[in-house]
Symmetry: C2
Subunit: 407 residues, 2 copies
C-alpha cells in the first residue's frame, strides 16, 4: 500500500454535504490535524440531515456540537465539513439515492461502503486527516476496508453518543476513520479518554475459522500473506479458533447465529428509534431504504427477548474467554467493495449483505472494540483485516495495531 | 416495614397520565403480574409525552413499544398504564408543574421523588406490582427510596434504551421499581436477560465513608440499625472504605468530585439531546425545568473532555477494586423526601439536590448497578439503603438483595 493516492478535490470526491471550518477550542494531541464529521453527528447551527431530504426539512439546526465533536475540537483539530451518509445510517453500501455515491478513490468503479461513506471518501481522497463516523453494524469498518483506511469501532458504551442520531442503541458507536494507525490512535484516544501505550505485549492471537470460511476465495487468498506475517510475528501464541466453540454453538453453524442475533435486536431497535418519524413524516425514501424500513416495521417484535438473551450469552462467553491482551483476527469484509449499482434491493438477499453483517456482528453482539487495517487488495480494490480485543481494551488494541502497521 | 399500605385509587394517586390495558404477548416468569410504564418509554399508539405539554403536542404517537416493554409483555405481565414523569426526566423531585405531584402514600405531605414519580406512586399505592422507570441521575433510586420501594438502576448499557427518550445517554438506564425484592428480581432479570441465582455468596462488603458523612444526622441515625444487621451478617468481611481512597482523590474531597464529574457530562449531553428541541419548539416549561435548561445551555462545553477523562479514571479504579462478589453500601438519599413545595428553584443551590446527586453519581459515573432497599424511616418517611455491585454483576446484586430482604 505504498503508492500515495492521487489527491482529489472535494467536489470530485462527493464526500461532503457541506464544507465549513470550525476552529479548535483548545490545544492538545490533535493540533494541526483536520477532520470531517458524518452528517448524523451534530454540528451547532447545522441540521444533521442524516442522508435524507425529508429528515433535513423536518428537523431544526442543532443547538450544540455533539459531545464527541466537542472533545475533538478541544484537543486541537480543525473541522472542515459534514460528510454524506447512507440514509439514516441504515446501510453498508454508500450509494445514497438523494446525495449520490462518494468517490472511492482506491477503486472508482466500486462503492465506498457505508454508512460513513463520505467520511471514508474524505479521508481516502486526502481532504482531511481523519473523520468521525458511526458504526452500528459495520458503518465505520466496512467503508474503511473498502477505501483502504484504518477504522475503529470502539467498545460499546465507551464513547458518548450525545448529539448523534440513533439507529439501534444497543449497537450504536461513534468511531474514527484515518489514513494511518498513528492518527487513528490519536483521535480515538481523545474520544475514549484513554492513553494509548507506546508498546503493548500481545497474549494469544486467535485467527477465527468461521469468518475465513465465509469470505470469497479471493479474499482468503489475498489475506494469506498478511496472516502469514502475523503467524511469524506471534509464533507460538497464535492459534486457529472456532468462535462457535467459544460460545457453545454447533461447529457447523457458521456465523448464521451471530447474524440472526444481530438483526433481531437491530431491527426492533431501528423501528423503535426511527419508525415513529417514518410513520408520521411519510418521508421520501430511496428504494433500498424503503425496503429496509418495511422489514423493520413488519418484524415480529416478540422475538427480541430471545435475541437479547442470546446476545448476553455470547457476551459472557467471550468475556470469559478473551484475556486483556488477547486478539481475535478476521477479515473485515466478505469481498472487495461491490461494483456501483450491483447491490440487491433487499438486504436479506444476495451474496453481500448477509455475509458482511455476519462478520461485523461478532464485535457488535459482543460489545467488543474492532480495528480494521488496510492490508491487501482483491481485483485492485482494498480489503481490510480486523483485530478485535477484549471488552474495554481499546487502548491496547490501538497500540497493537500501531505496532503492526509499523512493521 | 410490615404495615401494609392503605390501598389508593388511581385517581387518588395521580400516578397515571393514561390508564390502559395491554395484554401479555407471551407467558413466562412474569405471568400474573401487572406493571406501569413511565411516560418517557414508548407504548405503541400513544405519544410519549415526557411530562411536558409542548412535547406531547409536537410529537406523534409511537410506532412501536420500546424494546424493554416488548420484553416484559413477552414474559407474561399486563401493562396497566403510562405514568407521570418530571418534565423530560430532568428532575429528582416529582413535582410536575403541568401534571401535578403523584401521591407518596408513605408520606403524603412529601414529594414522591422523580423523575419516575408516577411509577413509584403507582407501585407504592398498590395499583401495579412493578413499574418501569428511567434512571440517569437517580430517577429510579430516589423515588423508590422516598416511597419505601425496591428499585434498580442496572449496569449501564445492559438494558436496551430503544424507544426511551434520551436525557444524557452516557448515564441513561431503564430500571424497575417494585414493592418486593422478589418481584424486582423477576422483572429486572427479564430486561437484563440474566438468571438470578438462588443464593449468592458475598465477598467483601464496603460501607462507604463519604456518603454516610454527607447525609442528614437523622438519616445516619436511622440507618444505624440496618447497618448493624449488615455488620452482624457479614462479620469479618465487612469494612469501612473511603471511596476517594479507592479512586485516588484527596481524603477530604467528600463527594464533590463525583458530583462535578457527573453534572459536567450530564449537562453537556442533555443539551445535545434536548437543546435542539428546546430552541426550536420554544416550549412551555415549568419554572424549575426552565432554569435547568438555562444551565445546560450556558455551560462551557469545552470542559466535557476533562469530565469524561475523570469518569474513565474512576470507572477503571472501581473495576480494579471491586471483586465480582463484593458490594458497596451507602444511603440512597441525603434526607427523607422533601416536603412538597419546598425545593429550591435552582438545582445547584440548597441542601437537597447537590447532596442527592453526589450520592447517586457514584453508580452513575462508574457505570455500576445499584439497588435501593426500604430499610428505615426518618420523620415518618421512608429512606433507603443502597447496594452497588461490580460492573455487570446485576444478577448477583439482585440475589444478594433478595437474601437480605428475606432476613
Amino acid at each position: 500500500m505504498s503508492v500515495p493516492p492521487k489527491i482529489f478535490t472535494a467536489s470530485e470526491s462527493g464526500a461532503f454535504v457541506e464544507q465549513l471550518r470550525l476552529e479548535p477550542t483548545g490545544s492538545g494531541s490533535l493540533d494541526g490535524l483536520t477532520f470531517a464529521v458524518k452528517d448524523l453527528i451534530d454540528i451547532k447551527g447545522y441540521v444533521s440531515g442524516c442522508g435524507n431530504p425529508t429528515w433535513q426539512e423536518t428537523h431544526p439546526p442543532a443547538a450544540a456540537h455533539a459531545v464527541g465533536v466537542e472533545q475533538i475540537l478541544a484537543a486541537g483539530a480543525v473541522c472542515l465539513g459534514k460528510t454524506v451518509t447512507d440514509e439514516l445510517a441504515f446501510g453498508l453500501d454508500g450509494e445514497n439515492h438523494f446525495y449520490g455515491t462518494p468517490l472511492n478513490p482506491r477503486a472508482p468503479d466500486r462503492v465506498p461502503g457505508g454508512s460513513s461513506s463520505g467520511s471514508a471518501s474524505a479521508v481516502a481522497c486526502g481532504l482531511v486527516d481523519f473523520a468521525l463516523g458511526t458504526d452500528t453494524g459495520g458503518s465505520v469498518r466496512v467503508p474503511a476496508s473498502n477505501c483502504g483506511l484504518f477504522g475503529i469501532r470502539p467498545t460499546h458504551d465507551r464513547v458518548s453518543l450525545a448529539g448523534v442520531n440513533p439507529l439501534a442503541l444497543s449497537f450504536d458507536t461513534l468511531g474514527v476513520l484515518a489514513g494511518s494507525a498513528e492518527v487513528l490512535a490519536r483521535a480515538a484516544a481523545v474520544l475514549l479518554a484513554v492513553e494509548v501505550p507506546e508498546t503493548a505485549p500481545v497474549g494469544t492471537v486467535h485467527v477465527l475459522q468461521e469468518p475465513l470460511a465465509l469470505v470469497d476465495a479471493e479474499v482468503r487468498e489475498a489475506l494469506t500473506k498478511p496472516l502469514g506475517r502475523l503467524r511469524q510475528r506471534f509464533e507460538g501464541s497464535l492459534q486457529e479458533t472456532s468462535i462457535n466453540a467459544v460460545v457453545g454453538e454447533a461447529p457447523d453453524a457458521g456465523l448464521q447465529p451471530w447474524y440472526e442475533t444481530f438483526i433481531t435486536i437491530q431491527w426492533a431497535e431501528i423501528w423503535s428509534s426511527l419508525g415513529t418519524w417514518v410513520e408520521a413524516a411519510r418521508p421520501d425514501l430511496g428504494p433500498r431504504t424503503r425496503q429496509n424500513f418495511d422489514m423493520t416495521r413488519t418484524q415480529d417484535r416478540r422475538q427480541v427477548g430471545a435475541g437479547v438473551r442470546r446476545r448476553e450469552r455470547y457476551f459472557c462467553a467471550l468475556k470469559e474467554f478473551l484475556g486483556p491482551r488477547d486478539l481475535l483476527v478476521l477479515p473485515t469484509v466478505p469481498a472487495p467493495a461491490p461494483l456501483k449499482g450491483t447491490l440487491d434491493l433487499n438486504r436479506t438477499q444476495g451474496n453481500y449483505y448477509p455475509r458482511a453483517l455476519s462478520l461485523t456482528a461478532i464485535a457488535g453482539v459482543a460489545r467488543l472494540p474492532q480495528v480494521t487495517m488496510p492490508v491487501a487488495e482483491v481485483k485492485g480494490a482494498p480489503v481490510g483485516l480486523s483485530l478485535i480485543a477484549a471488552h474495554g481494551e481499546d487502548a491496547f488494541l490501538l497500540s497493537a495495531v500501531r505496532a503492526l502497521a509499523d512493521d
